[in-house]
Amino acid sequence: MIRYLLSRVGQALLVLMVTFSAAFLLLQALPGDAIMIKFMSPDMGLSADQIAEIRAAYGADLPIWERYFQTLANFLTGNFGYSIQAGVPVSQQLQVNLPPTLQLASLGFVAAIILTITIAALSNVVGMAWLRTAIQSMPSLFISVPVFWLGIMLIQVFSFQLGLVSVISPGPVERLILPVLTLAIPISAPLSQILMRNIDEVLAQPFVAVAKAKGASHTWVLWRHVARNAVLPTLTIAGVLFGELLAGAVVTEAVYGLNGLGGLTNQAVGNHDTAVLQAIVVISALAFVSINLVVDLLYPVLDPRLGNKLGIAA
């Protein structure tokens, strides 16, 4: 178990290192840089000499390998540098923007799971055929709704028309209601599609017939026998989706005017704010890697057979 964990952590570190290097190289390959965008823009009205001085002060024209090792050393000591456009340390930006994004993503994810389970359960429990079809087609509807449009519609109806929640000066809980809903709906769509399909597949297996023959009710079979078997592929997708949630909050944050990593990324991309982007890429990679690690470790808990294959006692 410990050996397995260590090798997985080692792999994770390797992935992070490769991500860091690739991000650094790709960001350097873009035309122009943040200093050029900030200071060479005619709005600053600076002369060629003044710009040269600024570039020298930032060490912007040092050889690429020198900057690479400098940045790497800084990252390892927890120094992410400064955002040239915003004029604040990147660590301060992360401090302000990381927690709300984590909060929004986690709550959105939980809400999506509740929605997924509700849809999957209802589609198997509801008796009326037309209603079942309607419930089963909900994921297709959810996945086709543009997040941007959904967000604006929710604001228009619930905030501006009905006046139920404020989007400009909301309370701590109030501010999350609509964004969480906006985020949960499109995320729940692929999850419930996969879960419903897997439930159907598991329901077709012989052991279900046996359980029913022994006198178990449909609901009993669903919860006791089918759910556990059907949830594994969903978990894999959920792991991938959660990582996407962190980055995918861009639109939700922009529509609701929330601060978070999404908005920060958006701005940093617009201004080639390399230091900010480098930190965001590494943090997102860290999130992806950790979540997939957690998902991998959860498999044997849900399915003991997998644990035996990996040589871990379940």
Binding site: P31, M36, M40, S47, V88, Q92, S159, V269
Partner: protein, 546 residues
């Protein structure tokens, strides 16, 4: 139009204060000013670095204008320079020495005095920069040599060459005075609004970076611009800035009563706002009009006939009528009609496609098979990048492209990322055409816009671009240098008129419209005022109870 509105506001404020209703003004009709309350202001973009000389970016200026005071105040109505932190000043004959007498008793919000030493340090940094702290030089201060503290309330500034624009330069957003503690911080730390300590009527109380900013009125503030009707502390108790990028959310929140003032209202949204009884404010930016400029270093547009043809092929009236509203007057020169030294050039700016076709024929560009003009096997295809801060700039350029297509010229309009945009815009071969606009209420704005070592909008040789081959216009540069050096105001204004005519005659610039800053406000908002180029000033604002 805005002038009239502002006059009414000012008269209203005067009348209510003096309790003599000789003009039926807004405030007078409603009785006394209501004090207190918090204003909620929605900004489209988050502010960037708040180093005062970087205050030109409107979201930055919107913050700095409330928290910093300036040495002088430019009256937005008359454009005269009036006393503020400086009670009086003298300038020597050749404009190389300026002496300012400061108002006593003024303090920064950290308690330190706004005295000669502090003011001298501010301008030393703005005028010369600071390499160790990475502070860049201010655009509006030229030929700065140094300062001298004569006594605690007298400060003197010296210049290497005549610097006529300096007096107006002390009134602009980029010359906001900040505490020595703020100036001691590195440039990279000045994006945090709570670190900007000014002496203004409001103080930043807290900030959530990129999301919101809370300001509080300074109770002991008693040094507003001397000639302003309102004196003493600000009427409001506080202001809450909320960054709301999405247009429809800003407008919806305003109409639903969740906010009182919003910035950046597109022309197509004006009707919706006004039909509900809300008010559009569109103060002029009083500088260089929203225009399209050429980079004559590019051989495609090096021929004056080609540029003139393209000028006459643009129908600015159609652009304004299609995309904008009455708040965006059609341009009649390269600078706004409300700018100092404006001379009407509209006779030279006619829409005349027949003349355009004739000029292009004369220049040797003949109509090719695809409806595109050709010369020596080359097609007349030009490229421009859209400018994000300008209202509906992409649509404007696309309309220009349609109009040029009628005379056989193609214009590609690119969006591009910021890096490519800046890199390509320094290369005349890649961007023969570019959109342009600057807000500043001083004739110096023309020099700053066209001179090679400053904004260099025509991309002459001698600026920051190393891609320019040969193009230099010595006559234009001579005129611009004369504007910077001329100490006689009347002669200076005459030179400004000469430059306007020259730039249009050369077909360097196609002016399109006079750009306003567009705000929308609840009818409860009273005495909403602006500095000379359209940045909001919340000092006088008050909220009516109903």
């Amino acid at each position: 139009m805005f002038l009239a509105k502002n006059l009414g506001l000012l008269a209203g404020a005067l009348a209510s204060l003096a309790s003599v209703a000789f003009v039926p003004g807004n405030a007078a009709a409603q009785g006394a000013v209501t004090k207190g309350g918090t204003l909620i202001y929605l900004e489209q973009q988050t502010h960037t670095n708040l180093y005062p000389p970087a205050g030109g970016f409107y979201p930055n200026g919107g913050v700095l204008n409330q928290i910093t005071d300036k040495l002088t105040y430019q009256n937005p109505k008359t454009l005269e320079i009036e006393p503020w932190i400086a009670e009086s000043w003298t300038v020597n004959a050749d404009a190389t020495e300026y002496t300012f007498k400061l108002r006593p008793g003024v303090t920064f919000s950290d308690g330190t005095p706004v005295d000669a030493a502090a003011v001298a340090k501010n301008f030393d940094i703005y005028g010369l920069g600071d390499k160790a702290l990475k502070h860049p030089v201010s655009e509006v201060i030229t030929n700065y040599k140094g300062s001298e503290v004569v006594d605690p309330l007298t400060v003197k500034f010296f210049f290497t060459k005549p610097s006529v624009g300096f007096l107006q330069g002390t009134s602009v957003i980029g010359s906001g005075l900040v505490s020595l503690k703020t100036l001691a911080l590195p440039f990279d730390a000045l994006g945090d609004a709570t670190k900007i300590i000014g002496s203004g009527p409001f103080v930043v109380k807290s900030e959530v970076l990129g999301r919101e900013l809370v300001m509080e009125a300074r109770k002991d503030y008693k040094w507003g611009p001397a000639k302003l009707a309102h004196q003493g502390r600000a009427n409001l108790d506080g202001i809450k800035y909320v960054v709301t990028p999405e247009d429809s959310v800003r407008i919806g929140a305003l109409l639903a009563g969740q906010a009182q003032i919003i910035r950046q209202v597109q022309a197509y949204d004006e009707k919706q706002v006004q039909s509900k009884g809300f008010v559009i404010y569109a103060p002029s930016t009083r500088g260089i009009n929203n225009s399209v400029v050429f980079r004559p270093d590019n051989p495609l547009v090096s021929d004056i006939r080609v540029r003139q043809a393209l000028l006459h092929a643009v129908n600015a009236k159609e652009i304004v009528a299609t995309l904008f509203s009455a708040n965006y007057p059609q341009a009649k020169s390269i600078i706004a009609s409300t700018a100092q030294g404006y001379v009407d050039q509209s006779a030279k700016l006619t829409y005349d496609p027949a003349l355009a076709a004739k000029l292009l024929d004369e220049a040797g560009w003949t109509m090719g098979p695809k409806g595109l003009r050709q010369k020596d096997g080359k097609e007349l295809v030009l490229t421009a990048y859209e400018s994000l801060p300008q209202p509906q700039n992409k649509e404007t350029l696309q309309l220009v492209a349609q109009q040029w297509a009628k005379v056989g010229v193609k214009l590609n309009v690119l969006a591009g990322d910021a890096g490519s945009r800046i890199a390509d815009s320094l290369d005349p071969l890649k961007t023969p055409v570019a959109p342009a606009m600057v807000g500043r209420a001083d004739p110096d704005v023309i020099r700053s816009q066209y001179y090679p070592t400053t904004r260099n909008v025509l991309m002459q040789k001698g600026g920051i671009s190393n891609k320019v081959q040969t193009f230099v216009d010595d006559k234009l540069n001579g005129l611009l240098e004369a504007i910077a050096a001329e100490t006689d105001p009347a002669k200076r204004i005459a030179l400004v008129g000469e430059v306007q005519a020259y730039v249009i005659d050369q077909g360097y610039t196609i002016p399109i419209f006079e750009e306003p800053q567009a705000f929308a406000a609840s009818p409860k908002v009273k005495d909403f005022a602006f500095e000379a180029v359209g940045r909001p000033a919340f000092y006088t604002v008050w909220l009516a109870p109903k």
